[in-house]
């Protein structure tokens, strides 16, 4: 027999769960409309719509988030900071407001605050690549400020102010809703564990540190991974439709990982093999910092983060070119093909310098004019 008190407690729980769901997710139509208006540059209209929704649902996270974005775009940094700050207080589990708060702080030169906000973003959502990249930039900026003080350099170098990436969508609110669709459809094939390692050229050898006269030399890191991998042949161009033979790994004494493009298994359909080849080419172009080839792997209307295709492409180019060396490894790849559409799931092991990010990734591809192009790219923990 259950006590009435406990029943009421359960009921309250259920109600509050519902409530918080509603509070988080604006009505889908409103959100879509506002998102479109913002993309179209109709900020005034968007703001009117946002205010109308907020009049009804003052806690609505999505609308407040949009409001913060518009304020940011209009240069009203302090107002935008207030919006995102309150969002982090009301929804401490959402990483995006923290990230955008950090972007605003960084733009004001408040790097310590930016760092704290980004660390919160990552604590709430460890797989947020944008926040990781931003945090890397903030650390670098803080380091350079410290070095300026150490070496008595003029730190008024505003040109070097780093530009961090805003997140333009509250993805973490919507992930639950989107989860179902991906795995339905044609049979998926679990593809071998052989990792794709697409490796860029070896990073330029770090300038040898000036010899210290007194001998406490700090050890150079023992053979950084990129240097080891660089000797292995980087996969070039899309492999042929037939399963690319894995380069025979000469069993050298050193157990250096040998990059092996992920091979489609024997029972894979020709379409699946094509899709795997396309994903290999994409990863290889990324790791080789061949930005043109990398961008060509995406559909011409591909967008992300609420940016236009050109904005997105420019940001990707800047991010990729700015890295000294990139390694992209793909594991546990599953590809399903349905007509001209394909969905690929895999684990992505990304390294750039000391930045290591291991995440699940889902690519949706469409065959256009005989080529498989990426329509959608999603990351999840």
């Amino acid at each position: 027999m259950s006590s009435p008190v406990m029943k009421r407690a359960l009921l309250t729980c259920a109600v509050s769960a519902c409530f918080s769901f509603y509070a988080l997710a604006a009505h889908a139509d409103d959100a879509q409309d506002v998102s479109k208006m913002i993309r179209a540059g109709q900020n005034d209209q968007a703001m009117q719509r946002i205010d109308a929704v907020l009049a009804q649902k003052p806690r609505d996270a999505q609308m407040r988030f949009f409001k913060g974005l518009i304020l940011t775009e209009e240069g009203k940094s302090n107002d935008a900071i207030q919006v995102f700050l309150h969002l982090t207080e009301d929804y401490p589990e959402l990483p995006e407001p923290y990230n955008n708060l950090a972007v605003l702080y960084a733009s004001q030169g408040e790097y310590e605050k930016a760092r704290a906000a980004l660390e919160m973003a990552i604590r709430t959502h460890p797989s947020y690549a944008t926040a990781h990249e931003n945090l890397g930039d903030v650390y670098a900026k803080l380091a350079s400020q410290a070095y300026d003080k150490a070496l008595q350099l003029d730190s008024n170098n505003t040109a070097a102010q780093s530009k961090l990436a805003l997140i333009k969508e509250l993805i973490s609110v919507n992930t639950n809703a989107n989860k179902s669709g991906a795995s339905s459809g044609s049979p998926t094939t679990q593809i071998g564990k052989a990792p794709v390692v697409a490796m860029a050229k070896a990073p330029p050898p770090a300038a040898a540190p000036a010899p210290i006269s007194a001998p406490i030399p700090l050890k150079t890191p023992a053979a950084p991974p990129p240097a080891v991998m660089a000797q292995a042949p980087a996969p070039v161009a899309p492999p042929p439709a037939a399963p690319a033979p894995a380069p025979v790994a000469a069993p050298v004494a050193a157990p250096a990982p040998v990059p092996v493009p992920v091979a489609a298994p024997a029972n894979a359909s020709p379409e699946q093999q094509e899709v795997v080849a396309a994903v290999n080419a994409w990863a290889s172009a990324w790791a080789n910092k061949d930005v043109d080839a990398y961008l060509a792997a995406y559909a011409p209307d591909f967008t992300a983060n609420g940016q236009t295709h050109d904005q997105w492409a420019a940001e990707r180019r800047a991010r990729i070119v700015g890295k000294s060396a990139i390694s992209v490894k793909i594991e546990s790849l599953e590809a399903s093909v349905e007509g001209d559409h394909a969905t690929v799931h895999f684990r992505q092991d990304y390294k750039a310098g000391a930045l290591v990010a291991n995440s699940r990734k889902t690519l949706t591809l469409q065959k256009v004019g005989g080529k498989w192009l990426i329509e959608q790219e999603r990351s999840g923990a």
């Binding site: 007194a214 406490i216 700090l218 890191p221 310098g353 990010a357």
Partner: protein, 403 residues
Amino acid sequence: MKYAVLAATRRALSCAAAVLLQASLAHGAIRHAPGIEIVEPDAQLSGIFAAIDRDQLDEALKLTDHLIAQQPNFRLAYLIRGDLLLAHTAALTNIGSVSGGPPERLQELREEAVLRLRAYRDRPAANMVPRYLLELPPDQKTAVVIDTRRSRLYVYQNVNGRPRFLADYYITQGKLGADKAKEGDQRTPIGVYHVTGVLPKSELPDFYGAGALPINYPNEWDRLNGRTGHGIWLHGTPSDTYARAPKASDGCVVLSNRDLRALFHSIQIGVTPVIISEDIEWLKFDDWNAERASLQHAIEAWRSDWESRDVALYLSHYSKRFASDSEALKQWSERKRQVNAAKEWIKIDVRNISMLRYPGNDDMVVVTFEQNYRSNNMSNTVKKTQYWAREGKAWKILYEGVA
């Protein structure tokens, strides 16, 4: 997904930390006032590197920020902060992984780091005594010994004639190092000196920081050896920096202002010896005792032979190389013979003996004492300085003068 610093990055920093493992934090705590324990910056630096060695980079960063809060102009601390932040995004190869910037300044900070950490790690054990401090007279509270190779100044306390370690500080020396010979050679002198006065902060430009303690370079021995120059001070640091590079002065010994202020409390003007060495030798207590006993014996023989009025015996204590401020051995001997002829009796007391070994290879000791001389036709009390050197097995006097 994991945001990680490559192990190699950690190794790069922790290699320096490994050197410091033996340095314990407890060493660095100095009691300044009852109940207040201030951890000196080098102890904090050591703690930072120990944290790096334990892979606790966040802890290391916290400690660094704490140090910077206490010493806001500590450039080396900023360099380490930069490294710890950069370690999040890139592999480090050295202390100061900064790209760009003047390489000399970076190099200076690296050298400072190495010197501070090494000196902190290699602090002398409690049972070790600097070989130079053979005997401290009762009225002398402290002695200062400087090691230019280690960029370090050590303060010893006189506890019943036996030197006991009190504190040590990072120092800056001349741009071209030690062993001053000529005016303007930008070197720090090597020798046995004492503080001749105090110049307060209020009378000096900011460049000298918390004040200055001039020393008596060139001393008797320097002058006899033709060494020139003047104005060698121990002084503080300008207000815009916590410390200066290891080799940056024109020959002065520069301390951080906090260290200089602490040193002020230990100094007796005209009394406290300041011994500057390129490389301090440390002796175990027993060896130190044996060394001082042999010289004490020689001094006592000199005193009693003088009392005996046997001039040949008395003069046997003087080296062929002997010189006073005005005489060589020949004139000195003739004068002593003349004086002695008129003596019916001589009584000599020596008190407050100080014996300070001279740095360098000369096997030489500066001896000072109060001499109470009485005789049938003359009596006086003087403060005497002698330089004794070992020639073969015997100790001989190279120089003698009255202050």
